[in-house]
């Protein structure tokens, strides 16, 4: 960036991403990756689920990152608060995805500070959409990132979930959604376990169970790690804002689940 001078004003508006493109394009996510020949082995993040619950949404993600068949990290966070009333979960190339989350966080705060008011939830979803579209070139080089955005709509007074495709397409999901390599297995579990208007505590339990099922069949998704005491990341968004479920609550949910699955590995009921 350009030393100590204040950025020149003029046609900039209130978007941080546009400002970054004009003032320091080398800092945009994935901007300096250049030409890549052949596939590269980089850490990947894996399963994240989002589901609607009474008065809000719940988003949970496992903690594993893999590079090929090797476990790159056991305690990677994949679910982040984008701002006070929305969370974003990521799947795909970890490095680019984390940078994208950081850009989204600054983008939302930047808008809020300049305009003096928060972006609408659709506005946040659309901003993320254009960032994903900007990453399309990287996706073709094998550096794809696919997020899920969930938040509390202060105007509509309900929780909402937005899914994406690599071209930046943004789709609203009415019940639940999952992303990452274990998404298919998680989706199967969610179809059977999710109920409309379920209380947030139940939704947390269902989210953790869906991640369990994903980890059961997908080597890229981390299962319950009681030995290391590593729990999934789980966020609940309601009218009160974003709350991350505390470790001791998650420990109880995971321990109960593991006990319930003993001699019943598929969770038949």
């Amino acid at each position: 960036m350009s030393g100590d001078a204040l950025p020149s004003h003029g046609a900039g508006g209130s978007s941080f991403a546009e400002l970054l493109r004009a003032q320091a394009p080398h800092l945009l996510p994935g901007a300096t990756t250049g030409e890549v020949s052949g596939p590269v082995e980089l850490p990947h993040g894996t399963t994240v689920v989002a589901l609607a619950c009474a008065g809000g949404v719940v988003v949970a993600g496992d903690r594993r990152a893999t590079t090929g068949s090797y476990i790159a990290s056991r305690d990677l966070e994949k679910v982040f608060a984008a701002d006070e009333f929305s969370v974003v979960g990521i799947a795909g190339t970890a490095g680019v995805a984390l940078e994208l989350v950081r850009l989204l966080q600054v983008e939302l705060e930047h808008y809020e500070k300049i305009e003096g008011t928060m972006l609408s939830l659709e506005g946040k979803a659309n901003r993320l959409s254009s960032m994903i579209r900007g990453n399309l070139g990287n996706a073709f080089r094998g550096l794809a990132v696919l997020p899920v955005l969930a938040g509390y709509d202060l105007a509509g007074e309900r929780g909402r979930i937005f899914s994406y495709d690599l071209a930046g397409g943004c789709y609203e999901e009415s019940s639940h959604h999952s992303i990452g390599s274990g998404a298919f297995f998680a989706r199967g579990a969610l179809k059977k376990l999710w109920r409309p208007e379920m209380p947030a505590e139940d939704a947390v339990r269902v989210a953790v169970e869906a991640l369990y099922d994903a980890a059961d069949d997908d080597s890229g998704t981390g299962g319950p790690d009681l030995g290391r005491q590593i729990w999934p990341t789980c966020a609940v968004v309601t009218a009160d804002g974003v709350r991350f479920v505390a470790a001791h609550e998650l420990e109880r949910v995971v321990t109960d689940l593991v006990a319930a699955r003993r001699d019943n590995p598929g969770g038949a009921r």
Binding site: D4, A5, L6, A24, E109, K113
Partner: protein
Amino acid sequence: MTIPVYVSPEQLMKDRADYARKGIARGRSVVVLSCRQGILFVAENPSRTLHKVAEIYDRIGFAAVGKYTEFEHLRVAGIRYADLRGYAYDRSDVTARALANAYAQTLGTVFTTESKPYEVQITVAQVGPDPAADQLYLLTYDGSVTDEPGVVAMGGAAEALTAALSEDLDPAAELGDALRRTVDQLARTGGRALTAGDLEVALLDRSADRRAFRRVPVESVERHLVGEG
């Protein structure tokens, strides 16, 4: 052929400074001061939407008097500067000192090269873990910066206000006490009674984890002013 009139550089600078000073003196006052809970911003501003006090970054706030369009431009430029820096380096690398220097450069350049100087005075404040670690920088129309201990007043009655508030200044006073004292002095120097509705009050909260800037709602200002806060 007309001969251009010679104006000495001294005269030119003096005229510009007088022009800017007159513009600032017309404005109502703003006070920024340290208290136990953080850094308190009190502005005489009946508008609920056109703010004189604003958030720049996690622990940095901004207050201004003078021409709205001009300090609004500086506010936005400050947010852009801070967000760019924080994104390029780390959030902890954004400091009020660096921001004040950037503002000083801009104001200095505008003062000497543009056809008219900015008619503004701004304060950049950074809240620390205790009142002694608070930083208050006062910037004027010509780009001069001063590091003020504990309290800054700007606007028409700045000198009288600063003198009155610096006397028996307690940087560790309770928020309510500091607010009442400041509003008393604002009313005295302005020669008019002030109610909560005439004030814009904000706090850089010392105990905040990350974003420290909060606007204090009118109802709570009212409670503080009658001494119930």
